[in-house]
Every structure is written in C-alpha cells, then in structure tokens.
C-alpha cells in the first residue's frame, strides 16, 4: 500500500462510486431520492408518540362518558308502597298502598319494567300517571307489584351531599373526599418535615460519600410497592397506634395509620424534588451569606429556603397529588364504608379506597355502582391533574429563574 499514490487511490474510489451511481440508474444526486422506508418509519414513530395522546383522550372520554350516565340516567330506589289494585295496560289512575313514600307531581315510578310519570296526585293512595314514559311499553300489572321511584343525581348534590349510599340513591362525594383529604393531610404532616429535612441535609451538609449512601436509601422507599405499605399499615402501624392510644380511641381500621404510612411513602417524592430545588440555588448566594457572617443554619433558613421556595412548594403539591391518588394503603388500612367524620382514628373510606372495593367485588356494567365509581374517578382525575399541572408550572418557573 505504501507504494500507491494518493491520487491513484482516490481515483480508484471514484470509479467505484461512479459504478454505484450508474447502477442506481445514472442519477448522481442521492439527496433527491425518495425513500419510502424512511417516510414510513417516520410515520410509524409518530404513531408511537401519539399513543400517549390517545391514552389521555381515552381516560377523559371513558371517565366522562361513564360518569355522565350517572347524572343523566335514572337511579331506582325501592319504596315501601306497592300497587293496591291490579292495573291494566291503559288505565291512567294508579292505586297504591299508603305509607312510606309521599308521591309528588313529575316524579318517575317504575313498576315491572314500565316507567310512569306522575301527572297529578289525587290523594295519598291515588295518582294519575302518564303510562309508558321514557319509551317503555305500557303493561298490565298485578296488585302488590313493587314500585321503585327514580331519581337523577344532580351535579350539585354530587358535590355537596354528605351521604354516599348508591343503593339508596344518595350520591354525595363529600364523605369520600373528606377521608381522602384527612389521610393526605396526615401523610403530608409526616412527609413534609422529614422529606424537607432530608433534602436539606443531603444538599447542604452531607459529604459526597454520605450522599451516595443516603440518596439510594430514600429511593428504595419510593420503590417499595404500595401493597407492601398497606400490609405494614394494617399489621404493624394500627396495632402500635392502638397500644399507644387505647383500643377504644383507635378503631381497627383508621385513617391515621393509613395516613402515617402514606407519609413514609411520600418522603422520597418530597426530598428528591426539594433537593433539586436547593441545589439549583446558585453558589454565589450561599457564599454571600457566609461572607456576611451567617452560620450554615441561618444561610439555609434566610437565603436558601426562600430562594428555592417555588421548587419546594412544587414538591409539596406533587406529594399531595401522590397521596390523593394512592390506593392500596387506604384500601387495606383506612376501612371500608364511607364515613363523614373528621376524627382520624375512625374508619372512613377514601375515593380511591371506594373505587377499589366496589370494583374488586362483583361489578355489573351499567349498574349504579359501576357508573358511580367512574364519577368518583373523574373527580379524582381532575384533582390530581390540577395539582400536577400546578406543580409542573411552578417547577418550570423556578428553572427559568436560575437556569
């Protein structure tokens, strides 16, 4: 090879290139060639990216349409009254047994699959009705047939009523919401001081060696599956609380133990984001503070924390969002059955806990239960989305300041 001149080698290559071009149809301009494979791959990859959009749209559509059904379709509740006399398919006057429900004009009744609308109330036992309402067939009914009264859930009732009893037609999300808020509050009472303290230590005090040990330990806490935390809350935390505070005060299932354990679960979320915020504060601010004679603590409280405040607030918000959406800990330890109470030592079901319990049972599609858990899911989705977006916006703002 030593003897061959550069010119001849280049010339050799050029000949090969010429051959390739001539084989390709004599077109020397490779850039202009259409490449169907490249275009196909580009679109395939775009489709992969679009799947995430489809998922979001799917979540919104599913939660929206299924919970809309709760607000637009009839929910039937049995009343004690029954038909007092047989009814043929055309009669407009209904004779009912007295007692129990008081009927009113425009109420909707269901007897054996036929839906009737009350047009006039003659007295306690006689009603004039429109037969075969809502597209149902007018039928003949025997005396003694059971009557159900239909109700639609109004969104206002959904948001303000304090009782959640789907089988009795009562749909107030407040008891579930209050339990969610109480468990989340307890969790934050644990997670905020511990998470922030840990973040301050790791970012400001720890040597690189210590940081290399402490950070992974906190990360392990984040990697433990939530069902394990739930097991821990029910079998360890609850007995401890009952031993400390007395088994009269603390119920077997209670919000406090679920909240405390959830707090441990959220520590890593708070600590890692707060630590990012603290280390984003420029070194010059620290040095200026030390230069004025401040101790490390004074620097932390008067300079670093105010400077990193937005990032730390974002961490808190994200922590709350985690707590609100957490399911298995509250499903195992906080108790079954909605309970509108502020006492953390009582059992109460959270939104997520209720969804898990109802859907874990035998759930038939289009039943009241099915539609109602989707309404709860929608509320949950909206709450967590607002929290996540708020936290995201705040994080981006603090990044802009110190980037």
């Amino acid at each position: 090879m030593q003897g061959v001149s550069i010119e001849s080698r280049v010339a050799g290559r050029l000949t090969i290139a010429d051959q390739i071009i001539s084989r390709a149809g004599g077109q020397p301009n490779l850039l202009r060639r259409r490449r169907p494979l490249e275009i196909f791959i580009r679109w395939l990859l775009f489709f992969c990216g679009a799947v995430s959009i489809v998922t979001t749209v799917g979540i919104v559509l599913v939660l929206g349409s299924e919970s809309l059904r709760l607000f637009t379709s009839w929910n039937w509740a049995n009343v004690n009254n029954t038909l007092d006399a047989a009814l043929d398919a055309t009669a407009a006057t209904l004779t009912v047994t007295s007692g129990g429900h008081t009927f009113a004009v425009d109420q909707v009744l269901r007897v054996n699959g036929e839906i009737m609308r009350v047009t006039q109330v003659l007295d306690h036992e006689h009603l004039v009705v429109e037969r075969g309402a809502e597209g149902t067939q007018a039928l003949a009914h025997e005396a003694g047939s059971a009557i159900s009264v239909g109700a639609k859930v109004s969104p206002l009732e959904f948001l303000t009523s304090t009782r959640w009893l789907p089988q009795a037609g009562q749909f107030g999300i407040l008891p579930l919401l209050s339990a969610t808020l109480i468990t989340s509050l307890i969790a934050m009472l644990v997670a905020i001081p511990v998470g922030l303290g840990a973040a301050i230590y790791i970012s400001e005090y720890a040597s690189p060696q210590r940081r290399a040990v402490l950070k992974p330990i906190l990360e392990i806490l984040a990697g433990v599956p939530t069902v394990v935390y739930g097991f821990f809350a029910l079998t360890v935390m609850t007995p401890v609380l009952r031993a400390l505070l007395g088994s009269q005060t603390v119920q077997i299932y209670n919000m406090a133990s679920a909240g405390l354990v959830m707090g441990v679960m959220i520590i890593p979320t708070i600590s890692s984001i707060s630590e990012d915020a603290l280390s984003a504060v420029p070194r010059s601010l620290r040095e200026a503070s030390y230069g004025l004679g401040a101790t490390r603590l004074e620097t932390i409280f008067r300079v670093l924390l105010p400077a990193a405040l937005s990032g730390i607030v974002a961490a808190f918000i994200l922590g709350i969002s985690r707590a609100v959406g957490e399911t298995m800990i509250v499903a195992l330890a906080a108790g079954a059955g909605p309970n509108f109470t502020l006492n953390p030592f009582e059992a109460a079901e959270t939104m997520t806990g209720h969804i898990a319990r109802i859907s874990g049972g035998d759930l038939s599609f289009n039943s009241v239960d099915y539609n109602s858990i989707f309404a709860i899911g929608l509320a949950l989705f909206v709450i967590t989305l607002v929290l996540n977006v708020a936290s995201d916006l705040i994080i981006r703002r603090f990044r802009e300041v110190y980037a």
Binding site: L30, E38, R42, L44, L45, C48, V51, S52, I53, T55, T56, G58, I59, V62, E66, P193, V194, L196, G197, A198, Y201, Y205, L214, I217, L218, L221, G223, V224, P225, T226, V227, V228, F232, T235, V236, V264, I267, R296, L297, E298, S321, V324, G325, E326, T327, M328, A331, L332, T352, A356, S359, G360, G361, F374, L380, F381, T384, L385, V389, D392
Partner: protein, 462 residues
C-alpha cells in the same frame, strides 16, 4: 450608643450570642440528619416487620397421624392410592361435596344434581362411560373417588388428603420476635390451651410455598398461580410498552420539530400521564379492554376463549393496561438515553452518507441501549408491584388453575398479597408476608440488574 451596637453586641455578650447561634446551628444540623435517619429507620422497620411475620412458632394439629394411613410418606403416593385413602376415610356426603367443589363446580342447582345425567354435568371432564348415564345423587363412594382421581392432579389429591383426612391445621402462631424471646411463655400457653397440638417452628416462606397452587387453607396455599400470572402480565406489558415507548422516544428526540405545537403537546402530555393515579388506569382498562374490547381480550374473536363466560377480565387486558401505565416511564428513560448520545456520532454517520434511519438504527440506538434497558427494567419493577389497576380489572375471586395463556383469568403476586392480607383466618397474613418477601426479592433482582447494566456500560459512553 450607636444603632449598630444595639444590634451587634460586643464583648462577653457577643461571645454568648455567637455560642447560642452555633448551638442552634448544630442542633438543627443534627435534626436534618435525623430526617435521613428516620427514612432509614422506616425502611428497616418495614423490612423487619415483614420478616417478623413470615416466620415463627405455630400450633399445628392433626386428627390422624399420616403413618396410620400408609407406610410411605403421603406425598410420595400415587393418585390412585390417594383416592383410595379418600374413599376409605370420608363419608359419602363429604366425597360428594369434594366432587362438586373440585370438579363439577358449586353453582349447579340442587334439583339438577338428582335429575340430570352426569354426562351433562361433566362436559369437558374425564369420566368412565358407565357413569355418564347416572345422576350425581346415584353415585356410590367408589365412583365418587374414581371421578376425583381421574380429574385431579396428584398434588391436589395430596392436599385434599391432608386437609380432609389427616386434618392438618395450623391453629394459631406467633411472630418471629415472640418466638425467639418469649418461647417459655408460648410453650406454657400451648400446653395449657392445646394439649393435643404440636408446637413447631414454621417458616411460611418455603420452596413448596412458591410452587404450590392456591388453596383455601392457609397452611396449604401457594404462589404458583400468582407468580405465573405476574410473569404473563409483565411479559405482555413489556412486549407492548417497550416498542411503543422506544418508538415515541426516537420520534421525540430525533424527528420531532421542538417548536411544533403537536410535539409540545405530546411532551407535556407524557409528563402529565406519569402523574395520573394508577387506579385511573385501572378504570380505563376496565371500560376499554375489559368491556368495550371484550370480544378481543377474552379471545372470543379468535375462538380461543378459555373461560365460559367470555369475560374480558383476562391477562391480556391486565397486560395492556399496565403497558399504558408504564409507557411514560419507558419513554422518559429512553429519551434521556438517546439524548446522552453525543451529536458527533450522528454527524459522522451522516457524513459517510447514511440516511436518518440508518443513523438511528446503526449508531444512536446501539450507543443508547444500556440507558434504554435500564428504563425498561425500572418499568418492569413498577409493573410487577402495581396492585390497584389489577384490583379494578381482575376482580377474580379464587384462581386455583394455572393461567394457560393471555386469554385466561388471572391472579398476580401483588393481588394475592392484597387478598391474603384481608382474610381473617390465621395463616393468610403470614402467607402475605412470605409473598411480600418473594416480591421484594424479585424487585431487588431487577434493580440490581439495572444498576449493574448501568455501571458496566457507562464506561462506553464517550
């Protein structure tokens, strides 16, 4: 006195104030360290309390000694010998109940048991021809035992012998801590309360526990169905999430124009999806995969449905749902890995005339493989521990059959932990603790693999 002097004291007062400031600083410094210690302590207590419940002394009782039934150990007997033991030791009514529970199914109307011929009740099961014409009520003991022998495995027959004939029961037990430090008191209590019983040290986590099928008796239950279910689900999850997530990451990093609106929407959307509570994904799966696509997810569309009710509550639905759940994790990790590949590599590749896809496929992806795989392993460990979506989708009550494909109903490791934790009978929480240890060991394995992968290949990253 000047204003400055009133703020900054001098002499002894200054000394005192300085000391106070430093004292405060060191106390808070220790408090901050204490917060880390709290995290470490919480982790230790969590692990120890689970170990504490997975082992310990237990009171066991047997109605008959196994040696009275056979000279050989019972678990080495053949199916026929075990069926003989059942036939000789159980009343006819008990044999009928077992046949209903194990073979025919308990949902048959009582009237049909005396009216219908068995060939109707035993469709798809093994039975001798002469039995087919009889009714259930007309079977004698030998025929009942024969049907059990034909349709059940040796290990299931062994379980039945242990449960029904030997009457092996774990009545109660203590935690590891109590067993170690309180043994004398426990022995005294057992001697007083359970004179017939035997006190043994029981490890709930054993090899048999891992490979045994589920049972309604705590001492006989096992993880087999749950582990197989988890393996199937995780395989489908990764099979779906890996190509989709990698594709999305390549698009966003290599093709997408950062300033275009749709690409910005995709990016923001992925970040938001990562924060959606997992139970919401479960509800999405319930409405879409279980319900709307039930023809497909139950296998009915392909004629492969394994359950008679053609329900969409199958492994496939669970796998798809978890795939959507871990997709943001896969995308974000793959994006970071692709971004870490230096731009010079791409430019060199374009320089020698490679097309964009050739550059990505031959240069960028090979360099990004360790980072991408790390993300996949992390999403794998997320998928294997995720419970809430499976609770919403699964709703299976009791699965003692092995899952045999994507269209079968399922249980999974975390689902089983949840269910056992909620059962009141002694032994199930202990089984849950043992199952948690298995789950944590798997997670440790995955994460260890991820760390090793990252360290081995990090040297190669320029």
């Amino acid at each position: 006195m000047s204003a400055a002097n009133s703020v900054l004291p001098s002499g002894a007062a200054e000394e005192k104030q300085l000391q106070a400031r430093h004292r405060r600083a060191s106390i808070w410094g220790r408090t901050f360290f204490g917060a880390n210690l709290f995290g470490l302590l919480a982790l230790l207590i969590l692990l120890l309390s689970i170990v504490n419940q997975a082992f310990g002394l237990a009171v066991t009782q047997k109605a008959i000694q196994p040696t009275e039934l056979s000279e050989r150990p019972l678990d080495q007997l053949s199916a026929a010998e075990l069926a003989d033991i059942l036939q000789n030791n159980l009343r006819k009514g008990k044999l009928q109940a077992l046949l209903l529970q194990e073979v025919i199914g308990s949902d048959v109307a009582p009237a049909n048991l005396s009216a219908l011929p068995l060939s109707d009740l035993l469709q798809g099961k093994v039975y001798p021809a002469e039995v087919g014409a009889l009714t259930f009520a007309a079977l004698n003991e030998a025929q009942l035992a024969g049907l059990l022998r034909e349709n059940l495995s040796q290990s299931r027959l062994y379980d039945l012998v242990m449960e029904e004939v030997v009457g092996y029961r774990v009545i109660t037990g203590w935690t590891l801590f109590d067993s170690l430090f309180n043994r004398a008191a426990i022995e005294a209590e057992v001697a007083a309360s359970y004179p017939q019983a035997e006190l043994v040290f029981k490890s709930w986590l054993t090899l048999e526990f891992i490979v045994r099928p589920l049972s309604s008796v705590a001492a006989d239950t096992g993880l087999r169905a749950a582990l197989m279910g988890s393996a199937w689900i995780v395989m489908i999850t990764i099979g779906v999430a890996f190509p989709l997530g990698l594709g999305a990451a390549i698009y966003l990093e290599e093709y997408a124009n950062r300033s275009s609106v749709i690409n910005r929407i995709i990016e923001t959307n992925i970040r938001n999806l990562a924060g959606v509570p997992s139970i919401i994904y479960g509800m999405l799966g319930l409405a879409v995969f279980v319900r709307a696509l039930s023809e497909f997810t139950s296998g009915a569309a392909l004629g492969l449905a394994t359950s008679t009710d053609a329900s969409g509550r199958t492994i496939l639905s669970a796998g798809f749902t978890l795939a959507l759940l871990v997709l943001p994790v896969v995308i974000i990790n793959a994006q970071e890995a692709i971004r870490a590949v230096p731009y010079s590599i791409r430019e060199a590749s374009y320089g020698v005339g490679a097309t964009q896809w050739q550059t990505i496929w031959r240069q960028v992806l090979p360099a990004a493989v360790p980072g991408i795989l790390t993300g996949v392993i992390l999403s794998l460990s997320r998928a294997i521990g995720e419970t809430a979506p499976l609770v919403v989708i699964g709703a299976a009550t009791f699965i003692n059959l092995d899952p045999n494909g994507p269209f079968s109903r399922f249980t999974a490791l975390p689902l089983q932990i949840w269910r056992w934790t909620t059962l009141p009978e002694f032994g199930f929480r202990q089984s849950a603790a043992a199952a948690i240890l298995v789950l944590l060991a798997l997670l440790l394995l995955f994460n260890g693999a991820a760390i090793i992968l990252r360290q081995r290949f990090s040297r190669r990253l320029y």
